[in-house]
């Protein structure tokens, strides 16, 4: 029954116009970034390298597909959560708003299975977004700008990674980014279990992300004990994969914290949804 309903959920997502907003927005944004980089990328590069260029010269194709993919990933990881929440925040509450939840929950499928099938569908949708992002950023980026070594600006300096050393990092980075976005999916799903309209969970999810991001960015010692536990702090941990050497323990810690958040949010969603009286 779980898989049958998961199939149903995928049909619903694929038929809903809003599911394509994310993909269209992503495509447009990346197209704009690619165009901008093609037109004026060297300025962007010199912004990064300028402080070094007094004494050093950078030889080789810096503005390549690898760098473009990195720039795109870095720029969009802030905005994709909205696109994800747009679909995942609607999964339970949207059915309540439409009235179809009554129909769905009078069928011989347990509510836990309903939540899990929606979770799996949400994961598939999130994965498709990430893969699409990966395709556009990485494949199209390489196609337009060619390949080359990747130059990454971290807080403690520049890291230059060999072209051959980049692919596996991107693979893992997209996985970690997927996990980060799944945290958004499960958060919005949890909100969705509480609401009877579709806009509430989406707005709530974004509000939480903004709040946590601001707390994370505030340089106030009061929040120092809180920051390491905010999921938003760990959403950028894919970036650590582009350090040399890779700080595996940091990444592992982030992955665990993100996973824990996922489990927590799903538990909340299942608990609330099982207890919920369907009065809509």
């Amino acid at each position: 029954m779980l898989w049958k309903n998961t199939y149903n959920e995928l049909i619903k997502i694929s038929a809903k116009p809003r599911s394509y907003i994310g993909i269209a927005a992503l495509t447009l944004l990346i197209a704009i970034i690619l165009f901008a980089m093609k037109a004026d990328g060297s300025k962007y590069i010199s912004f990064v390298t300028s402080s070094f260029e007094q004494t050093l010269s950078f030889n080789g194709n810096i503005l390549n597909g690898n760098l473009i993919a990195f720039i795109i990933l870095q720029m969009l990881i802030v905005h994709i959560p909205l696109l994800v929440a747009l679909v995942t925040g609607d999964l339970l509450s949207g059915e309540a708003a439409m009235g179809t939840l009554r129909m769905l929950l009078t069928k011989p499928i347990s509510r836990k299975q309903v939540v899990f099938s929606k979770l799996i569908a949400a994961a598939v949708y999130t994965l498709i977004l990430v893969l699409w992002l990966g395709f556009l950023a990485f494949i199209v980026g390489r196609w337009v700008f060619g390949t080359g070594d990747l130059i990454v600006l971290n807080s403690d300096g520049l890291v230059i990674l060999k072209n051959a050393d980049v692919l596996w990092r991107y693979g893992l980075a997209f996985l970690v980014a997927f996990l980060a976005l799944m945290t958004i999916s499960t958060l919005s799903l949890a909100f969705s279990a509480f609401a009877n309209n579709s806009i509430g969970p989406i707005v709530s999810t974004m509000a939480v992300i903004i709040l946590f991001t601001i707390i994370g960015a505030l340089d106030v010692s009061v929040f120092d004990h809180v920051k390491p536990w905010l999921f938003t702090t760990h959403m950028a941990s894919w970036r650590s994969l582009f350090n040399n050497p890779v700080p595996w323990s940091d990444i592992k810690e982030s992955v665990w914290i993100l996973l824990a958040h996922n489990v927590l949010f799903v538990t909340i969603a299942v608990y609330k949804f099982q207890k919920k009286d369907i009065t809509s």
């Binding site: 029954m1 309903n5 439409m98 179809t100 009554r102 929950l105 009078t106 069928k107 011989p108």
Partner: protein, 305 residues
């Protein structure tokens, strides 16, 4: 002893401080078309939703097909088809896609041809590929009924199935319910706030009021033993004389003169024919004789008796 399909005992449910259902009890037997009657706000919808596990009751027992709803929910619901409130569908999907979606999780193996046959049965043949967003209310109602029937359930639960339908639609739904009972031997429970609707299709019924069961029994018995508000209209302005005649016939009878030509009185159904004979025999020219069984009046009587 006939098999009990639905047994509800001591059902209670409150939302916050408001107790929607205080003590509802009834039993639906196999083959019944069972009327679930009560005014708006009586707790019908809450009871129906409890029966379908949409709402978790605070106390009481719900057994369907002899099984406990909480423990064997999925086994029970695979044998039930239902419409709660109104049938809502995924508007962005076609009628067929919608039914396929629900068929997939109905617990039965429903073939596409069965779905198409059911669509034909409810009069939606040829519209299967149209998006539900373009359907009228009546069409959605029929699609809803198709949804309740396609997996061949033994029990059909219809919550206010004629709400919002035009007269033709109401008649169609009535016919459909009778066909389900007579041709397919299904057990049907339908809720309504209109006694007339229940009377026409149901063989047994329960009446609830303010969250409590008032009375349960066979429709014909309840209708006959219970009093009816009878409305009489005469050709001439003779209502005062007629009232005096009836008072002489049945001393103590409560009669209200509503206009020079009309009057009304509470009377048992079985006595309507006798009254008619006597009035005609006395030379009163009757234009209309109309039993008005308003549910509210019915409740008042029941609560009085």
């Amino acid at each position: 002893m006939e098999e009990a399909i639905i047994e509800i005992k001591g059902l209670q449910k409150s939302f916050g401080g408001f107790q929607a259902v205080k003590d509802v009890n009834f039993t639906v037997k196999k083959g019944d078309v069972f009327g679930f009657l009560g005014p708006n706000g009586a707790g019908k919808s809450t009871t129906m939703r409890c029966m379908l596990s949409l709402i978790m009751p605070n106390a009481g027992q719900i057994r369907l097909f002899g099984k406990d709803l909480i423990n064997e929910r999925n086994a029970i619901l695979s044998r039930v088809g239902s419409i709660v409130e109104k049938p809502d569908f995924y508007k962005y999907l076609s009628a067929l896609k919608n039914l396929e979606l629900f068929a997939r999780i109905s617990g039965a193996d429903v073939q596409r041809k069965t779905i198409l046959k059911t669509l034909d049965f409810v009069g939606l043949a040829g519209r299967e590929n149209d998006k539900v967003s373009g359907f009228s209310h009546g069409m959605r109602q029929r699609l809803g009924i198709a949804q309740t029937l396609m997996h061949q359930p033994e029990l059909i639960v219809l919550d206010e199935p004629t709400t919002g339908l035009d007269p033709q639609g109401i008649i169609e739904v009535r016919d459909l319910i009778l066909r389900l009972k007579n041709e397919q031997g299904k057990t049907v429970i339908l809720s309504s706030h209109q006694l007339s609707e229940i009377e026409l299709v149901a063989n047994r019924m329960v009446i609830i009021h303010k969250g409590e069961t008032l009375i349960e029994g066979s429709v014909s018995e309840l209708m006959n033993t219970q009093q009816t508000l009878l409305h009489l209209e005469f050709l001439d302005a003779k209502s005062t004389e007629a009232a005096a005649f009836i008072a002489k016939l049945w001393p103590g009878q409560d009669i209200q003169i509503t206009s020079p030509k009309t009057l009304q009185l509470q009377i048992e159904k079985s006595r309507i024919a006798i009254l008619n004979q006597n009035l005609v025999g006395a030379g009163f020219e009757i234009v209309a004789i109309e039993p008005k069984r308003k549910l509210e009046d019915f409740f008042i009587q029941i609560t009085k008796s």
